[in-house]
């Protein structure tokens, strides 16, 4: 997409979000919308590493929860405002991302994925045993007073998430179009050949893991204010890891639009299913859809569209 058109569309999305927030429709819309947008951020973040660089991260929950718990820590210790929480959560998760970036020196393919999965387990155990942020029994967070512009705090958080989602997608879009994106694609195709063709593979991988981690932390930072009660098993929920992987794969992993399409479709389906059928059905839907796509359209919806157009 051309730069001008992209900027126009992204500003339009933010504008729509603000309008929707001002419209005061059924509050549940904001509640559900927040979750879907949060998944846009998470799926986009996952895709920067998993889709562009080809390193599959099973530990999304760790980065998300680290963002959320960093926010809790900042609320408890400094009563920090939301922008600081978001930035802080992003930075701490970004540092964790930097760490796993160096893991890629020794761990490739499925071994890297197992390590990220283990990371989530280790981190959850640490948080369970850390009483300052609530430990195993969790912690209640009191939302700040709502500003004048928004009806209630959830509407406000919804608007914030719109901006974060557009921001995350813009970062992915910029990476994809730059020399960094082309280098990541080369190392995804063949890391050894990429290195031999002058691509600084380690530096690019560390960049991808850091940005990916940062954005996952950003997605998690407003979470405490959204749910108002955070406990380890909800923040480290397996849903995040599964959805972060499933959404880009369903949408298509090679471009920024894939994770957005996947997150919106799958996220909406999950929200609808939660209300109309059962809240336990969420992951079942993801599983069935993912299996279907892996078998029938391994390159996701975008790949499917390209194939049909190509004929």
């Amino acid at each position: 997409m051309k730069t001008g058109r992209y900027l126009l569309v992204s500003l339009g999305v933010i504008g729509l979000g603000v309008l929707l927030a001002r419209a005061r429709v059924n509050p549940y819309i904001y509640f559900a919308g927040y979750v879907i947008l949060q998944y846009v951020v998470i799926a986009t973040a996952w895709n920067i590493l998993g889709g562009y660089a080809g390193y599959v991260n099973f530990g999304t929950a760790a980065f998300f929860a680290l963002g959320a718990y960093t926010a809790i820590f900042l609320i408890e210790s400094l009563k920090a405002p939301l922008p600081v929480l978001i930035l802080g959560g992003g930075l701490v998760s970004g540092v964790l991302g930097l760490g796993i970036g160096y893991l890629t020196l020794r761990l490739k393919g499925v071994f890297f994925s197992i390590a990220t999965f283990a990371l989530a387990v280790v981190l959850q155990t640490l948080v369970i045993n850390w009483d300052y942020v609530g430990g195993a029994k969790g912690m209640t967070v009191i939302r700040p007073r709502t500003g004048v512009l928004f009806g209630n705090y959830v509407t406000f958080l919804f608007t914030v998430m719109v901006v974060l989602a557009v921001g995350a997608v813009t970062i992915a879009w910029l990476i994809e179009r730059s020399w960094i994106g082309r280098g990541l694609a080369a190392l995804r195709d063949n890391e050894e050949a990429a290195e031999c063709m002058g691509v600084p593979t380690l530096r690019l991988k560390v960049f991808a893991t850091t940005v990916s981690g940062f954005l996952m932390g950003v997605a998690g930072a407003p979470f405490p204010y959204y749910v108002t009660y955070v406990e380890p098993s909800s923040a480290f929920n397996l849903d995040y890891a599964v959805n972060a992987l499933a959404m880009p794969m369903i949408g298509g992993t090679t471009t920024w639009a894939g994770p957005v399409i996947g997150a919106v479709l799958l996220g909406t389906a999950q929200q609808v299913a939660t209300v109309t059928i059962s809240s336990e059905l969420n992951l079942l839907i993801v599983g069935v859809v993912l299996v279907g796509f892996v078998v029938l359209a391994p390159e996701g919806i975008l790949g499917l569209v390209r194939r049909i157009r190509g004929r």
Binding site: R182, G183, E192, E195, G198, L202, T254
Partner: protein, 240 residues
Amino acid sequence: MAGALLEVQGLTKRFGGFTALNGVSLQVKTGERFGLIGPNGSGKTTLINCVSGALPSDGGRILFEGRDITGIPAHQRTRRGIVRSFQIPKPFTSMTVLGNLAIPLEYATQARPGGDVAAEAMEILRHIGLESKAHSKPAGLTQIEMRKLELARAMAAKPKLLISDEAMAGLSSGEVDDILAILFRLNEQGITIIMIEHIMRAVMRFSERIVVLDAGDRIAEGTPDEIVRNPAVEKAYLGE
């Protein structure tokens, strides 16, 4: 020594208890056509991996243009001018042939964004005889085209030293001549070439000087004629 582009001094590489390279030394002069041969498992590819930076070495030094490059990562060696092609072609499968060349043009030669990468890539493809496939994906290429892509991509990195690792394995004799002609032409343009090859006809015709490895040791060095008549080489290949 003056004129030495690449100088390998006492290079040692071990994999666990197995010594793949046992203090190998060799020199490649600027502009030379250099052959590296030896039976399977003699350490040729290991040597190349150590020179190109794909593997760290356990001892010895590697000098390029008189400067020690033993400790620097592979992509920086590429930028200094050491470029290798792979024994089994490793194309970037998601990109077109043209896109494959754009990667080294952009990363290894640090071409300015203003410079027309596509035009330059096309020029290289024309040189190699692959321009008709510029917009195909590597999956649709034949074996010989794949080898040419491998060479074209190496060319795009603007090498001073090109290491061709069995670029001809599995090709028909007409195709071997095709690749040989390309390598001769590159050499005439001033590129130093190290050829690793099992096809003796090709390596004997191409090389000005040959070094023979056997079980990680350097057992002979000389012109093709000298190598053919060397009893140690015969023993290494055929046994006693």
